[in-house]
Subunit: 150 residues, 2 copies
DNA sequence: GATGATTATTAGCCTATGCTAACTTTTTGC
DNA sequence: GCAAAAAGTTAGCATAGGCTAATAATCATC
């Protein structure tokens, strides 16, 4: 530590680099559950509305093909979020229901927040669908408080 | 259209399904550029601060290994966002600089918005890093206005 | 209950994004 | 200017999440 004018030699710099990396690592972590979250949320909704969640309905709403849905459902089943039988509708496990509820809650808050900011419903829905997966508990609380207040 | 009590038979229902799918399709579209956006933004910053962007510095800040950086840089070069020579630092193309500027702008606005909501800097930085890729022009404008006002 | 339409699955392909291990090149410090 | 350290590359592997084409099962209707 002779020359402190060096690029990248301070402790402070090292800590800044570290915390930056942690942010990116956190975002990548969140990314890994995005698809699962959207699926369980949608499946819960379909079950609530129709009594069952059929792949064809998931496919239409997610805007992906049937084989893509099948493969994704395979991962959800492997991860213990749904149960399914061949050629049958899918259902949520206890864990899947819990995740769905949490996702619906977050989605609702983000959506209401965007609407309360004055965004049009179409855009709000679209943005909420992406933003919801990247909102921390703290931010969510602030969003909820803001929407409440206004 | 004899029995309108059918599940999923109304025009309105069809339109709702369609627009839901469009939201998801849009989110997937945005997802495809997330990594490229983060890289060019970081590269621009490193060039600004150090005069060059070295893979090792990108690696440390992104929290990924060197080979991952190398592969990603290959895609960025292929897509015309950067130029590079073997064993040398990378530089942005005109297009890369334009994208970086746009990303930095969005990042700044989202970050300032979160801070102005009362979020702590650490969490704000973390959330901004994820949210920035899923904010429409309209929402960005509302965020900017809000941060300004408060 | 046969049959045509709808729905679901499987196989096989692709790209992006991560990793480790092994190797090469460049930089640094005597 | 040489040796060791640091940085960069390459090869090879894995998983997620898309797709199309082909096949199979279920459902609806007569
Ligand atoms: Mn979503
Ligand atoms: Mn959602
Ligand atoms: Mn980001
Ligand atoms: Mn950013």
């Amino acid at each position: 530590m002779i020359d402190d004018e060096n690029l990248e030699s301070t402790e402070a710099e090292a800590r800044a680099v570290e915390s930056r990396a942690e942010a990116f690592i956190g975002v990548r972590e969140a990314r890994r559950s995005e698809v699962a979250e959207d699926y369980v949320e949608l499946i819960a909704e379909l079950i609530h509305e129709n009594g069952e969640a059929r792949p064809v309905d998931i496919s239409a709403r997610m805007g992906v093909t049937a084989p893509t849905v099948a493969k994704t459902l395979g991962r959800l089943a492997r991860d213990g979020l749904i149960t399914r039988a061949k050629y049958r509708s899918v259902f949520l496990t206890e864990e899947g229901r819990a995740l769905a509820k949490e996702c619906r809650h977050r989605h609702e808050i983000v959506l209401r927040f965007l609407l309360s900011l004055g965004l049009d419903p179409e855009t709000a829905e679209r943005d909420a669908e992406g933003i919801e997966h990247h909102v921390s508990e703290r931010t969510l609380a602030l969003f909820a408080a803001f929407a409440q207040r206004s």
